[in-house]
Amino acid sequence: MSGLELRNIVKNFGAVEVIRDVSLAVNDGEFVAFVGPSGCGKSTLLRLIAGLDKPTGGSIAIDGKDVTEIGAADRGLAMVFQSYALYPHMSVRENLAFGLENTKVAKPEIEARITDAARMLEIEPFLQRRPGQLSGGQRQRVAIGRAIVRRPDAFLLDEPLSNLDAELRVSMRAELAALHARLKATMIYVTHDQVEAMTLANRIVVLRSGRIEQVGTPLELYNSPANRFVAGFIGAPHMNFLEGSIIGHENGYAEVETVGGHRLSVTARETRPAGERVSIGIRPQHITLADGAAAGRLDTRVTLVEELGSETVVHADASGKKLIAVFAGQQKMKSGDSLPLHLDPAVLHLFAEDGRRLS
């Protein structure tokens, strides 16, 4: 399997519109990540694909076959629920075996797959326990295991690693990638973790309030976000935006006046009338310290320093506008220091007032 196609999906809960006209095609074997702010409709979309809910409008096709009216059990998918939904009365082993028994997999094969999955998820010691006797992260791994053992044509994973520690998350990520490579199964993956989305996905779907904002490969989204929302959403800490207005255009560059009368030139595909409000985006990682009195230097004052060990996040104030910059390693800055910053025109993004990308 399994190409998946969503056509004009709409889903309402009573008066609440949760999914508004979503169309998307997922190729067979593709790894697609759904990202978007909390409550944007990711889980709902997953449930619609799974067949657990019926869309209010639109249709869903799997492998070209319309499955809109087909029940969840007959769509051949496996799902990791955001809430785990483990069978509380079954041991971990039984939880894992249940789906296999349903599809009449032979006993030894079941045994083998469970052993396999348990090793991979590091839950061997708990196979005899009930979900109620597990920690949050252990439960989550069982939930993943339940989907994995099934070896379905397609996986639907709803924030499967959210409750795991960093180390485990890295190894689970690798396991999922390996699994994807091995099974060649389509995977649809909801996550809030940028690293997961960036490293695992072939394509990322950015959702916002039930609409798709952009679909693209991770680097496409990172480097050329279609609009200000995507730009802000992809990348952590989020992109800094400086409001400003067009002064003029020159060789594909737009001259923009921004905070404190500061002028910046940004690549621009379109010519916009002078005076139009635009915003300039710059990722915190792209901000560098200005050495000396270089042109384009932006004077700021440090308001907060967050030491992450491997990098330092600096919150700075530029004429009342808050900026975040990330510097590698541990820096000797502290709150109140003055901080001259350099914004390289090459890494700036330009967005129109309606959020559309201009650069």
Partner: protein, 345 residues
């Protein structure tokens, strides 16, 4: 992290369980084959029908059909038992029941005993159901606490349910009669022997008391199961929220128990309206007719004497049924509202 108390079984016991479950699995697996086929054919909605079918079949034949026949009875007269031997009289039986000078005064009715029974039943139901609910809820709440010897305490309160109504009536009659245990126990305090059951108030009181005594365990058990189903973590959250026991009860326990409380309310009400056996043995409906309830009236009219009048009895039972349906509908509409509330997820 609810369910910390769930303990894993010792392996031996688990093994036994597995062994025992093997035949069950086999049977259920066999049943699954046609079920799956049917599911393929009809989808989920068709399955609802399958799951309902056995019950509905038995139900229609053995419950619904007799009820319909019962209704037809109410349109006939005579003492014959089987319908073909009876004469159709239309609404005559209902006319007799409703032939009243004033509905507020039973003595002006042709069927004065019927109306007396109706009035008695109404009063009884109000008090009995209230008392029953309170007692069952209190018992369930207390049995829900972490008691050691849980089984023993549960048995104590459930025990009367095991007794047949006749034995219940009898035990309490022996306790309450003039030369009974109660008077005997009270005599050291200077009480003169008293015929509890010959006094209108006390007879009523004990009719309520004994019927609560006899059935409370039944409802307490339903509520107990409901209480145990309330997720522990909500109580933990409430503890963190500094909720007092009373507030936990009012804001957590009560609303989450609602589906089961509705069961108890509906059943208790229905059974209170239908009260018969134990009160019949206890008071016989006396003193006078003060504890004569509607079912006793129906029984007396339709079955007790050799000159039965099943038509009139059926008509009375149909009227009683209609009243009950209305009362239940009212309760259920409340429950439907609560159904959504009580749902987790």
């Amino acid at each position: 992290m609810a369910g910390k108390t769930v303990s894993s079984e010792p392996p031996a016991k688990a093994g036994l369980r597995q062994a025992l479950s093997a035949p069950v699995r086999l049977v259920m697996g066999l049943v699954d084959i046609p079920m799956r086929a049917w599911q393929k054919l009809t989808g989920l909605n068709g399955m609802a029908g399958v799951f309902l079918a056995p019950n509905m079949l038995i139900f229609t034949v053995f419950v619904l059909l007799p009820l319909v026949i019962n209704f037809i009875y109410s349109t006939t007269s005579g003492s014959a038992i089987f319908l073909p031997n009876r004469t159709y009289v239309g609404a005559e039986q209902y006319r007799i029941l409703f032939d009243c000078g004033s509905y507020l005064d039973p003595s002006t009715c042709a069927a004065d005993t019927f109306w007396a029974a109706v009035r008695n039943t109404a009063v009884f139901v109000v008090f009995q159901v209230t008392a029953m609910l309170i007692a069952a809820l209190a018992t369930a709440l207390i049995l829900n606490r972490e008691l050691s010897n849980r089984g023993f305490w549960r048995a104590v309160f459930f025990f009367p349910v095991l007794l047949s109504p006749v034995v219940v009536g009898l035990i309490w009659k022996w306790i309450l009669q003039r030369e009974g245990l109660l008077n005997y126990a009270l005599s050291p305090f200077g009480f003169e022997p008293f015929s509890w059951l010959s006094d209108r108030f006390w007879a009523f009181f004990f009719a309520v008391f004994v019927s609560v005594w006899a059935h409370m365990g039944f409802y307490a058990l339903i509520l107990l199961a409901g209480l145990q189903a309330i997720p522990k973590d909500l109580y933990e959250a409430a503890a963190m929220d500094k909720a007092s026991p009373t507030r936990i009860f009012r804001r957590i326990t009560l609303p989450l128990l609602m589906p089961n409380l509705i069961v108890v309310l509906v059943l208790a009400l229905i059974r209170a309206v239908q009260i018969f056996d134990e009160v019949f043995v206890l008071t016989g409906g006396g003193p006078g007719t003060s504890t004569m309830y509607i079912t006793q009236y129906i029984y007396e009219t339709g079955f007790a004497s050799s000159l039965r009048n099943p038509g009139l009895a059926s008509a009375a039972s149909i009227l009683m049924g209609i009243v009950l349906v209305i009362l239940t509908l009212i309760q259920l509409s409340a429950s439907n509202r609560n159904e959504k509330k009580g749902k987790r997820q």
